[in-house]
């Protein structure tokens, strides 16, 4: 862009706004006029005051608040040069330009998610883009693609969280009038309707327990999965999250209280042997012993994210998986390595656990992950009574 020399202060302000807009600030005429009004209120000639005033008007988020000082400096630098040469080309790195192909693909993904057929004329090029994403291994994705996927997953999690049952429950919000309760309660008061009672659809009380493997063999996927869990946990409140490698760690509150990057940092620092070996059997046993009585009920779906590589013995795994299976609604095992054509489930530990797993999915790409998610809603199909 061009920074042109302006002789009036308002001219310069408008220039600054223009400059900030190219850096991702959202500024309209309202902000510009606010800034001009503010200047009339402030003592003239104090540079710092001028600077802080503009900062409080133009910055609208934490990120912008932190960026502002540097950008402000940069702008005046550019302007100084412009004073000498009248106009001056500004070196503009194109880093934050969003590639244009992404937008249509998001549209298509959305419609695909709701099982709408895409309109034929629209976005034919983008449709193939979607195909690529759907079947692309999570391990090979670029950050932009990941961001796209994450947004999508968040949406799926939200849908899952807001499944309403047909049962009604009492409510303090004024949703639906509960006539039956209203009448019966007010009969006590002599038959006049004094107090209204309301109801709202009851949430389906599906509980989720996530156990994520963070050992070395799962390295490329663990960050992704923790991100996935994070997305889930933020829209679903009946969820308990654990990570394990050689011991089990409850991370539910951590993910609740922190934004993702910080939470991830804390987890990887806290959990001993992060990216080390795994003893799944021991960990599962641990989980059952310490948390099982509280968390495992017939309404709980247990999701295990692991490749099944176990450095411990297989008998513990079998035993603990059997416990989990018996006490839960469903057991879903996601193994991203199973997406590899060379994969065969000959891991001894995993094989012994197989009878106690309701759903085994690879979850290495969006397609299979979506398939696995579908299972969350339904009950158990097969029953093992004799084990």
């Amino acid at each position: 862009m061009l920074v042109q020399r302006q002789t009036t202060i308002s001219g310069n302000l408008v220039q600054l706004c223009k400059f900030l807009r190219t850096k991702g600030f959202v500024l309209g005429t309202k902000e510009e006029s606010d800034a001009l009004i503010a200047l009339t209120l402030l003592p003239i000639g104090n540079k710092d005051t001028f600077h802080t005033a503009l900062k409080s008007i133009f910055a609208k988020s934490k990120w912008q608040f932190e960026q502002f000082d540097d950008l402000y400096e940069e702008f005046w630098e550019q302007l100084k040069k412009a004073v000498d040469s009248k106009t001056k080309e500004l070196v503009e790195p194109n880093e934050d330009k969003v590639p244009t192909v992404q937008k249509p693909s998001l549209e298509t993904l959305k419609s695909w998610l709701f099982n709408n057929e895409p309109e034929e004329e629209k976005n034919i090029a983008a449709y193939s883009n979607l195909e690529v994403l759907t079947n692309k291994n999570f391990g090979d994705m670029s950050t932009d693609e990941m961001r796209l996927i994450m947004a999508l997953l968040r949406k799926m999690a939200k849908q899952l969280a807001h499944q309403k049952s047909r049962l009604k429950q009492r409510s303090k919000r004024n949703r639906y009038l509960d006539l039956k309760r209203t009448f019966s309660r007010n009969m006590r008061l002599g038959g006049d309707i004094l107090k209204l009672h309301f109801s709202e659809p009851k949430d389906k009380k599906l509980k989720l327990v996530l156990l994520s493997d963070v050992s070395k063999s799962m390295d490329i996927y663990s960050r992704f999965f923790i991100n996935l869990i994070y997305a889930f946990q933020n829209s679903y409140d009946r969820i308990e999250t654990f990570v394990f490698s050689t011991t089990v760690h409850r991370v539910t509150e951590l993910l609740d209280n922190h934004e993702f990057n910080k939470a991830f940092e804390i987890i990887s620092e806290r959990v001993p042997h992060w990216s080390g070996g795994t003893t799944i059997g021991n960990c599962m046993q641990d989980f059952v012993n310490s948390y099982g009585h509280k968390l495992l009920t017939k309404k709980t779906v247990v999701i295990i994210l692991s490749d099944g590589w176990d450095t411990g013995g297989s008998s513990e795994l079998k035993q603990s998986m059997r416990d989990i299976y018996k006490r839960s609604k469903k057991v879903i095992w996601l193994n991203p390595l199973a997406g590899n054509p060379n994969f065969s489930p000959d891991v001894i530990g995993l094989q012994s656990a197989m009878p106690y797993i309701d759903v085994f999915e690879s979850a290495h790409n969006l397609e299979s992950l979506k398939r696995a998610m579908k299972h969350l809603k339904t009950g158990r199909r097969k029953h093992l009574l004799n084990t």
Partner: protein, 296 residues
């Protein structure tokens, strides 16, 4: 109201609030431009305190709306005192009062329960309206708030539109548990408050706790600064520093040592995993802050 920037700084200082330039400027501009001020930052850095101090300084009321999940318009605006209306109707249901009169009566101010926002705009003298932890409320409430904050009027079907008598000074706070919408950000001035640096925290301690030993204060601030660098689940804020300093002063300590810190760590850290984590890196922490063990 004529108020200038220096005066704001003085007002805040008079109320024992230690503010830096950006805080002063934001408060000043939000009053001058009559825009809400959105304050974000980690827990315990004095976001809510700004509203309280401002109300005291302007000698006006503080009206607080604590947000929570499920907060809806009836809790924020108004409700009809419906039981009273019914009783009133019963009392005058003997035919002496015309129906129109009765209707007019029961939908009058007398039976209107004002909730914080309606309360705030119906005051003669502009109060400070604190909308605390806005990020906890649902998105629907946020959009509802937008409407109120831009028009400063509320429509009540039975009465009509109530216009604000005066525009309250609005302060919104948030912990970033959820991203707020672009629309609400644009209607506000924004301020981010970080944990204080060493000097600022020291000044706060000295202002709030007059009897504080200089050396003890310095050690506490240094320790807190290092503590916040650890990756804790619940990073302690200024409130914790103050509690700790107060406790130690009350026990007449003049300096920190390993034993004292170990015994009183529960004042600062409220999470057992954090305490365990801190104890693991204790010697490193003490070394950095220059606290020596009593034994050595």
């Amino acid at each position: 109201m004529s108020i200038d920037l220096n005066k704001i700084g003085k007002i805040l200082r008079d109320q024992a609030y230690i503010a830096d330039k950006s805080v002063e400027m934001s408060v000043f501009l939000s009053m001058q431009l009559e825009k809400p001020l959105l304050i974000e930052g980690p827990a315990g850095v004095g976001k809510t305190e700004i509203a309280k101090v401002l109300a005291q300084a302007l000698d006006t009321d503080l009206i607080r709306l604590q947000c929570y999940e499920g907060l809806d318009a009836t809790h924020a605006l108004y409700e009809w005192n419906y039981q009273h209306q019914l009783i009133y109707m019963k009392m005058y249901d003997n035919g002496n009062v015309s129906k129109e009169k009765l209707e007019e009566d029961i939908f009058s101010d007398k039976f209107l329960l004002k909730r914080p926002i309606l309360e705030a705009i119906s005051r003669e003298k502009p109060p400070v309206l604190l909308i605390d932890e806005i990020d906890r409320a649902d998105e629907e409430f946020e959009s509802f708030l937008l409407e109120v904050l831009s028009d400063w009027q509320i429509s009540i079907p039975e009465i009509g539109t109530i216009k604000a008598r005066s525009k309250p000074h609005v302060i919104l706070t948030g912990n970033r548990t959820r991203e707020l919408s672009e629309a609400i950000r644009r209607r506000c001035l924004y301020l981010w408050i970080e944990y204080p640096d060493f000097e600022k925290e020291m000044t706060i301690l000295k202002t709030k706790i007059p009897g504080l030993d200089q050396k003890l204060g310095e050690q506490i601030c240094a320790f807190m600064e290092e503590l916040r660098k650890l990756k804790l689940e619940k990073t302690p804020g200024i409130a914790e520093t103050l509690d700790w300093a107060q406790a130690l002063t009350a026990m007449h300590f003049t300096h920190l040592d390993k034993q004292i810190i170990e015994d009183t760590l529960g004042v600062v850290l409220k999470d057992w995993q954090d305490i365990r984590h801190t104890q693991d890196s204790f010697s490193e922490l003490l070394e950095k802050t220059g606290v020596v063990s009593r034994l050595s």
